[in-house]
Symmetry: C2
Subunit: 205 residues, 2 copies
């Protein structure tokens, strides 16, 4: 089934596998079976094997998967094999939390630019990244940054998105609960905390 169309759901699960593998690797393990990984990430073993089968032979029958190799393959599929420069727009509480978050390394992300419109913040450093004025967004294109995280108040989200598009950004992770409109060649993933929370009561008896 190799190399034909990859289900969206599989793409959604790959980063989860990757995180599990990174954790196992840090624990000193070098090999893992689909059922061990399954326990770790709460997905069925056959689902995991099926997901991998879309790409090729990652494992060894009777043995399992080599963790390093598997992680490398998944990174390649997700195009995470080169370090990705990412810009953060909005350095409020949420933005600071994102900045402080160490989990990005696993996926090869590096936040190399941060923007805010608060004069008190501009010029300061966070994690070795200087906070710049929002008006500098246009310069991103020249700096090989092709992804951005929007963590600004709802009302400002669309303006920021427009500026990011002008700067040539190709993917946006949007944390504002506002639908943002961009040319359709630009991929947007929106995370709205409240809509996720809102599903919870439905499942509570």
């Amino acid at each position: 089934m190799r190399y034909s169309k990859i289900p969206n759901e599989t793409v959604r699960r790959l980063p989860v596998y990757l995180r599990g593998l990174a954790l196992m690797s840090r624990q000193g393990l070098s090999s893992v079976s689909s059922s061990k990984l399954a326990d770790f990430v709460s997905v069925n073993p056959w689902q995991i094997r099926k997901d991998f089968s879309y790409f090729g032979d990652f494992g060894t029958r009777g043995v399992g998967y080599n963790i390093e190799n598997l992680a490398r393959q998944i990174k390649k599929i997700l195009k995470l094999d080169t370090t990705r420069k990412t810009a953060l727009v909005g350095v409020g509480n949420l933005g600071s939390a994102i900045m402080a978050y160490t989990g990005f390394g696993t996926y090869g992300f590096q936040i190399t630019a941060a923007f805010d419109n608060d004069p008190a913040k501009i010029g300061r450093k966070m994690n070795d990244v200087a906070i710049e004025s929002i008006s500098m967004l246009d310069t991103l294109g020249k700096r090989q940054v092709d992804m951005a995280i929007i963590a600004v108040p709802e009302q400002a989200a669309q303006d920021v998105a427009n500026a990011l598009v002008r700067a040539g950004i190709k993917g946006i992770l949007n944390f504002s609960p506002r639908r943002i409109v961009v040319p359709k060649k630009i991929k947007v993933i929106t995370i709205d905390i409240a809509t996720d929370l809102a599903r919870l009561p439905y499942y509570i008896p």
Copy 2:
């Protein structure tokens, strides 16, 4: 098709519709068609109608949906028709961002308790909610709080989850990138910023 099993994906979309409706309502609109709502929330009109059809007749043929009524119905389905008391555990950057977030009101959530283990924070107030010591988590059961948001560092997540379970919490929104293990009658939704970000490069040409 009324009242039979409701697709998970439909449940996932309902809060999105609800947010769109709230926004439209604030704009002074009182009625909406499936295609207008579709534009607003980026879902196809027939998908919207199908979703609603699992529950009953919400609309008027030839006219559309009454916004107030539709919102009320969706809230009822999602069990959001009573105010839900929610606890926040971890008042760092992420926790503060969550606390400051105004979007919860739409869904009837009210953060009525906040916990942290930093003595400097305990006793202080945020949004009229006093920050309590983590050791007070046990008291939640008596306070009619049945949902919690975990926004603590990765290593502390499981301990907090255990305490929440002991306190009788029934649903958890987990922001730490760590799988947490709880009895299966308790519903957990995990949001890991990095795994969402990690999907982005795949879709970038």
